[in-house]
């Protein structure tokens, strides 16, 4: 009796412990069936094999725009796109967005002959790269007014642009939503969240400089800026009387083209009306548009 009892006891205890940790039979049967099929591993993306070996500039644009090398709809991207064209560097443009960029901002360029490994060149190093590539001039050095007048573009006109595109609700719905928000997702909740983020970012940017956003003030300042730029250009073909367009022309073109472009579909374009008062700026834009 005792040995039997001990045996019985000894055999049941481990069983119980086993019960707790072991998978119940029905579930085990289900898991035994996995994996159902083992698929062969995927091929490398087709694009990486067949893509051209040229320089690639990643900008905000759509597929057809990229195919035909049309101007980007983002002023920062368009500035560099135009500049590289003007100095005569060949490149293809690739539609992209901020998440793809190593710095978090477009544009960036992957050169065909990588400098120091396969690195992407962010926009603030593009000019240096271009100068090394084609030995064009560093235009900032040639005229001390370059930086001074450039401040009109990156403060006054940019502020008015931010207001017109993002904070004017009609324009936002007609232009920014179509260009920036809709291509990124089809989910309407994500879309509205993205729109809210975009508008909030623009608002924060403007509120950094003043206590409240005075729309009239922004537009009037932009109008003054156009006037000053128009005087600076006067009867010349390109800014600072240069024989061919350069960085400053690209910077001006980036805004004037987008403001005057019919395809943008502006609902309310006060900036356009102000810009059209200066005939030479309008012609300057048309002259540069022929490069595209």
């Amino acid at each position: 009796m005792p040995p039997e009892g001990r045996d019985g006891h000894g055999s049941t205890m481990p069983d119980r412990a086993h019960d707790i940790f072991s998978v119940p039979a029905p579930i085990k049967r289900v898991f035994d069936k996995f994996p159902l099929v083992i698929l062969p591993s995927n091929d490398l993306p087709r694009r990486s094999n067949t893509s051209q070996n040229g320089n690639k500039l990643f900008v905000f644009t759509d597929r057809t725009g990229a195919k035909h090398g049309r101007p980007s709809f983002n002023p920062q991207c368009l500035k560099w796109q135009a500049y590289l064209k003007f100095v005569g560097i060949d490149f293809n443009i690739v539609p992209s967005n901020n998440h793809a960029s190593p710095t978090g901002a477009l544009p960036f360029l992957t050169p065909s002959l990588p400098v120091g490994g396969n690195t992407a060149i962010p926009s603030n190093k593009l000019q240096k790269w271009a100068i090394e590539e084609v030995h064009c001039e560093e235009e900032q050095q040639l005229n001390s007014r370059f930086e001074v007048y450039a401040s009109l573009l990156d403060s006054r006109i940019r502020n008015a642009w931010l207001y017109t595109l993002y904070l004017d609700n009609e324009n936002f719905n007609a232009v920014a939503r179509r260009l920036y928000v809709d291509p990124s997702t089809t989910n309407s909740i994500v879309r509205s969240a993205l729109s809210a983020q975009l508008q909030q970012a623009a608002r924060t940017e403007l509120l950094k400089q003043s206590h409240y956003i005075d729309a009239d003030d922004l537009i009037v300042e932009a109008g003054n800026a156009f006037e000053a730029l128009s005087t600076l250009l006067s009867d010349n073909q390109y800014f600072f009387g240069r024989p061919k367009p350069g960085l400053f022309d690209a910077e001006v073109f980036a805004y004037t083209h987008l403001i005057l472009d019919e395809k943008m579909g502006w609902k309310r374009n006060t900036l356009g009306q102000l810009l059209k008062k200066h005939e030479n700026l309008v012609q300057h834009r048309e002259r540069l548009l022929k490069h595209f």
Partner: protein, 433 residues
């Protein structure tokens, strides 16, 4: 009589704020001395736009340098206008250089007076304390400090900010403490020690500061010396008459030239990079603001016996209700949902007021915006409310509150308690699941 309301004096200058200084300089250059008074009110809430500098004429308020210049031109019928005689090219230069100075000098001033910790703690903050009244002394400087940090964030010079470095050091320290408890193999080697980090960033700082200051001072220096002549009497654009650009330059750059800061890198950079500009600003500063250093007491309680270069008038001392409103506003603006309500109300009232200067369409859009964000707000309140109810419901169903109820009811009749507790539990379990 025009009243010009500004931030009060500091660092021997008539105002601590660059834009206010520019406006004061413009007044001294353009407006006859008996036609205006200067009030160091140091409180943006005096003006309906909540901004300084602001000009008050009767019931009209105009704020910001550019708007004030325009207003003076209209008000005087073109007489008080420094830019009236500019040629086309000078006019363009005036616009461009004005934009250049405001866009490039403001970040440098922010870095020098606010972000550089020693300067902010030992000089800027006490300077504000001298011109502000209670409770604004405690409310306004931190606000300005945060705003200045936000404006200069993108320059990547936060290592001028000792607090930020201290934070970084603390993080590394706590990482090191944690490291003691984790086996050695599991910790990544720290990339930088504190001293190497500090050493590196101070060099990087040096380069960045060099680049930033060169960027602004070199074009200005070149502008002043462009005709290769000693411009002892000259101004930026014309040789004999000042323009609004000169007023703006003296405003912003005399703040850059404040000499006796703890860490006077901006002053040093300006002196070494732009000697002609420095001499020019010093000369114009004396011309506009007078020879004698200006103290807060001079501005806050001017006596008729001591003659001053500027037409100071004592600001009104804040009344008790005003102090109450300030405190209430601060509390309200710091409370999440209340804050949004207030912003909406402000936008709405701005849109609906007849003399807001907005076109009909703009006010329509604005009030639509206000309406829309109001409904957003209601939605978010509802969401929060629903969340709270769900949480409370869950807690009750789990029994957190039921136990409290038990204790309270335990003092009462035993039978009652049992029935009640059971009922609550049933009721809540229905709700919770």
């Amino acid at each position: 009589m025009l009243e010009l309301h500004v931030w009060g004096p500091a660092f021997s200058l008539p105002s601590i704020d660059a834009q206010c200084l520019a406006t004061i300089a413009y007044f001294t250059l353009a407006v006859p001395k008996d036609a205006w008074v200067l009030v160091a009110s140091s409180d943006p809430s005096v003006s309906p736009t909540n901004e300084l500098p602001a000009v008050k004429n009767g019931s009209t308020w105009v704020s910001r340098f550019g708007n004030i210049v325009d207003y003076l031109r209209q008000y005087s019928g073109g007489e008080w206008d420094l830019d009236a005689d500019l040629g086309e090219l000078d006019r363009a230069d005036n616009i461009a250089f004005s934009s250049f100075i405001t866009a490039r000098a403001q970040p440098l001033i922010d870095l020098s007076l606010y972000v550089t910790s020693q300067n902010y703690r030992y000089q800027t903050s006490p300077a504000y304390a001298a011109i502000l009244t209670w409770p604004n002394q405690w409310i306004i400087p931190p606000k300005l400090h945060t705003a200045a940090k936000a404006r200069t964030d993108h320059l990547g010079l936060s290592s001028l900010d000792l607090e930020a470095i201290e934070d970084q050091r603390n993080r590394e320290h706590s990482a090191a403490v944690a490291a003691g408890h984790i086996p050695r193999n599991f910790i990544q080697r720290p990339r930088d020690t504190v001293s190497s980090l500090l050493g590196k960033t101070s060099q990087q700082n040096q380069f960045k500061v060099e680049a930033l200051t060169a960027e602004i001072f070199e074009p200005l220096e070149e502008m002043l010396t462009r005709d290769n002549k000693q411009k002892s009497q000259g101004y930026f654009l014309a040789h004999d008459t000042p323009s609004s650009l000169d007023a703006l330059a003296v405003g912003y750059l005399s703040v850059a030239l404040i000499p006796d800061l703890k860490h006077p890198w901006l002053h040093d950079a300006m002196r070494s990079k732009a000697p002609v500009l420095t001499a020019y600003i010093t000369r114009l500063r004396t011309k506009c603001f007078g020879d004698n250093p200006i103290t807060p007491s001079l501005a806050l309680s001017p006596s008729p016996n001591t003659p001053t270069a500027l037409p100071w008038r004592a600001p009104e001392r804040p009344s008790l209700p005003k102090i109450g409103t300030t405190i209430l506003n601060t509390v309200a603006d710091a409370t999440p949902i209340w804050k949004d309500f207030r912003t909406n109300a402000r936008i709405k009232s701005m849109a609906e007021s007849k003399d807001s200067g907005l076109s009909e369409q703009e006010s329509k859009t604005l009030s639509e915006f206000a309406k829309q964000s109001r409904s957003d707000l209601v939605l978010s309140i509802a969401t929060v409310g629903a969340g709270v109810i769900a949480l409370v419901g869950y807690m009750m169903s789990v029994g957190l509150f039921a136990r409290n109820a038990e204790k309270m009811e335990a003092e009462e009749d035993q039978e009652d308690y049992e029935i009640n507790a059971n009922q609550t539990a049933d009721f809540l379990s229905g709700l919770g699941v």
